[in-house]
Symmetry: C2
Subunit: 337 residues, 2 copies
Amino acid sequence: MASGGTHSKAVLVSAEGHILAETDGPCTNHWLVGVDNCINGINDMVQRAKIKAGLDPDTPVCSLGMSLSGGEQKAAIQKLIDDMRERYPKLSQSYFITTDAIGAMATASDYGGIVVISGTGSNCKLVNPDGTQVGCGGWGHMMGDEGSAYWISHLAIKTVFDARDNLVTSPHDINYVKKAMEEYFQVSDLMGMLPHLYRIFQKSHFAGFCRKLAEGGSAGDALCQHVFTEAGKALARHIVAVLPRVHQDLFSGELGLPVLCVGSVWRSWELMKSGFTQVLSEAQAHGYGHFQKYSLLTLRQSSALGGAKMGAQNAGASLPLDYSANINVFFSHTFNQ
Amino acid sequence: MASGGTHSKAVLVSAEGHILAETDGPCTNHWLVGVDNCINGINDMVQRAKIKAGLDPDTPVCSLGMSLSGGEQKAAIQKLIDDMRERYPKLSQSYFITTDAIGAMATASDYGGIVVISGTGSNCKLVNPDGTQVGCGGWGHMMGDEGSAYWISHLAIKTVFDARDNLVTSPHDINYVKKAMEEYFQVSDLMGMLPHLYRIFQKSHFAGFCRKLAEGGSAGDALCQHVFTEAGKALARHIVAVLPRVHQDLFSGELGLPVLCVGSVWRSWELMKSGFTQVLSEAQAHGYGHFQKYSLLTLRQSSALGGAKMGAQNAGASLPLDYSANINVFFSHTFNQ
């Protein structure tokens, strides 16, 4: 199964790699919802998947491979697994947890590449052909999440606050964003935003405002377009951060450097494109000889599939995946020589 | 009484303006601790002050004037007062709530000036001689707090995270800050910071790291000095934000524009000075003809005293305060003509 900052998904896969059932659930990031809600949510999704596939819910699956946003810290992960074993002994025979980024990469390829997640939060992970990993970001909204839906929403709202305070002049008219904010959060002034920032703050709801900004950007509002351009720059900077550590073989495939783009913010690619391509072109111009081309990929399958594959591997089995059927190339760029 | 983001203070004042008793308490910002803890904390401090002054705790004081960080939103304030009346009928005959900034200003002057608070959080308020107010900031750590102890701590820690991620190059060596962070938060790596940012996040504890940075700055660490210089700039930008709205009479006193500096971060003035003076000089050079001089003031008395004065006024009485005894000028600057 796989979790993001807002939704989760479980896929039940046969030994031959066929998807038997899929189920959805709420956010299961244990940093955001706590360990209890995380475990209960996972158990609920997997049990529903067993029933949906016509299997006995009291028979454990062979392996539960989980690709979790927030699945980075070893001690916390071991505790999650221990708690699951104890509380839900009928859930699975074996358990494996990896991060959302690695689960996504395992869905797309067994050769590596760069994963850039931008959903509720953001994260970037380079996986080299030898399996070594280099991360950038993924620290959550209090210490990063640059280029994520949370960050885009925050940037737009902060621009309104700063303009009202005369603290920073907005680069564009704030009226569309201000009105959209008042509608989305059901407030009549900036003071009304305080509960949404503190007492009743919910990251996924706050981040959901990003959809309204995407609508505004598509309809031509300059400030909405501006925050997405900034998000494109921010996400590209994550790639630039890991570029020095990319193994040179990753540059030399047909697609150039493969960048797997995961998360709902990538649906607004057209709004982010100018900022994103600008930052990568600048970095390339400052001297990465091997870096001649890059391609942006999306998944056609849930990254839960990669989680399942890794869980099976961990349990000593192997799940055959048809990688080419799992991905879609939506943008390629070759730098001028 | 007066509250900040970390501590609170109550002063019991006689009709003649003499302080009969002072008591301390924890943070009573209702946004941070909730309405119940806020009310209980205030009641506890005031009742202890009555006992300390040899008064009957069951006899209400004439007036309870409160200067609260987070005391801005009218509906929330009315609810606080209603709850206090109902739950603690022996507390006071009348109630008055204003913000920490206005309570501080009322302690220093009845003519107005600019208050810049930088404690756990930050805030700026211009009070003109006619009583009109213009604010900048004060939205808490999710939407501002620029130049506050929280913000300084966050900036230093974010610099370490970004350097580790190769996302942003630090302007100075990060080793002192990284080590101080690991000691203060009792963690062995960046991953260990996640609970401090989320599950067990406490703004006042996070902000308390600022003291270690001040020590580092005084001992010569360049990154510590850098974050305080940035804080000086950020606080000065709050003043620049309200400058266009300053009544010209406020520029023409002996002190020039009076800026009342409240909160523990101002103890690190020497570290902030270069950034602060630079931003104000640039703003002055870009054309404020009346703005020839400014002076920075601190309070020698708790801003609870100004809260008490305003509470008394609201109850139809007046508390005589000797303003000159309440303030201290610690810096003056006259711009070159």
